[in-house]
Amino acid sequence: MIFEGKAHKYGRDVDTDVIIPARCLVTTDPDELASHCMEDMDDEFIRRVKQGDIIVAGENFGCGSSREQAPLAIKATGIACVVASSFARIFYRNAINIGLPILVCAGVAAEAGTGDSIRVDLDRGEVTNLTRDKVYQADPFPGFMQEIVTAGGLMSHVKRKLGQ
């Protein structure tokens, strides 16, 4: 799978409270959640984001609360992929489980700026900053997780297992 879009660049330790504030957790509707995504840290985000765009961030993206509404909200804004130097572990699991593509790729965030054109080749684990003409290699998914991704998310994987 290949995505190409504009970068929305953030720093390190982007927590799930700023991705989707708790006051918005009174719904499980992805579109309603998306309308508040990032608003406490970047109220321009939701106006700026376009289908297929890419979030580029530093270390520890998605730290804090386990709320799965965070990756759900990001996914429903149209963001195609989150590329970060590292992810907090619950966010990482949640993103894999719900099918929000993510890549661990150090270096991209340090050199990218908001608005840069980014190309992500998920299968090859390759991130290209087209604006700056630089190619980065992401960490590969462990095989175990690849199975979940291939199955189309955790629940499909579970259904397959229970069906056996």
Partner: protein, 423 residues
Amino acid sequence: MAEAMTITEKILARACGREDVSAGEFVNAGIDLALANDITAPLAIKEFESAGIDKVWDPERIALVCDHFVPNKDIKSAEQAKQVREFARRQGIGRFYDVGRMGIEHVILPEMGLVGPGDVVVGADSHTCTYGALGAFATGVGSTDLAAGMATGEVWLRVPETIRFNYHNVTGRYVTGKDLILATIGRVGVDGALYQAMEFAGEAVAAMPMSGRFTMCNMAIEAGGKNGIIEPDEVTMEYCRGRMRREPLLFSSDNEAVYARVVDVDAAMVRPQVAKPHLPANAVDAVDLSDVSIDQVVIGSCTNGRIDDLRMAAEVLKGHKVAEGIRTIIIPGSQSVYLQAVKEGLVDIFIEAEAAVSTPTCGPCLGGHMGVLAAGERCLATTNRNFVGRMGHPESEVYLAGPYVAAATAVTGHVAVPQEVLG
């Protein structure tokens, strides 16, 4: 002969039916207890039901606690709690805790003996790591993981590397588990233990009551940890006696166990801590912040809502009044903590000090209700996170501390150590 293992590895080896496991391996572990709350359960239920699964794997081993937005703060939160209530009824889940019978999940589950040494606990709440204080492997997951756990009774896990934290010597007066963990997060950073187990040990931990141990393990997630854990000892066993109806499984780390690293802390040198906005790692000595004025104090939460925490607060507040212009909100973590506080006269002390005392709820900690902050307001709380907008307006600020500092701050109106009030 099995490999030398840490306590975390031993618990996971047992849970996946193996003689040994080592860090970095992926395993499917059997779950002893799966947990969700009124914010995370609705999504888990949606996933569970839309996958077409009829029955949970074991209704006896699922706990659903409505604690975040209850008593319901608005119509939407009432609808969410209703979904959880109805799911519990449909699935025959007896361990469903609602208003009047509930408390903050991480306070009530240990209190009722539903979690104990050797267990594997997964909870759709990041502070599930609290139960590591009992010598259990407990970790936070998302709603879909929880849905899968409710369906299969298993969870996939990567066996974490362990960082061993040795707290040498004993803590000084008014220095609690909260101060040790804030100092620790300050030292390693908010991702200093990313994906790793944080094993707390040493003289200061051995001398610590269960309440302080729960506080320490509770905040392992604030350093990015997968779980916090303390080897069970006499203090643990004393706590479990009369609560647990199962035989506890006691594990401890082998002397030759492999650690990612060992961090030594001289507990005697740690002074009351405060984490400044907007990260739990911004810990400094409370005495250095005496020029910081505060609008609101919150004492409670899954981090510090136990009876010992309320006793500490009462020790400082007794015979004093909350300073002019300060709002102080005290929230017992469970109905039984609340009742105990009433019986001991702590609630009298709080009300006479002009603090508000409420029914158990997570409420203000996550900016839900019961103490949401306006723009520019500053709160000192015994909670666990001080991220931007955590307790309300994105321009409000949260300082984190233990109950002694919180109560002293309530009395003085600025960040204070208890000695300032008690002499």
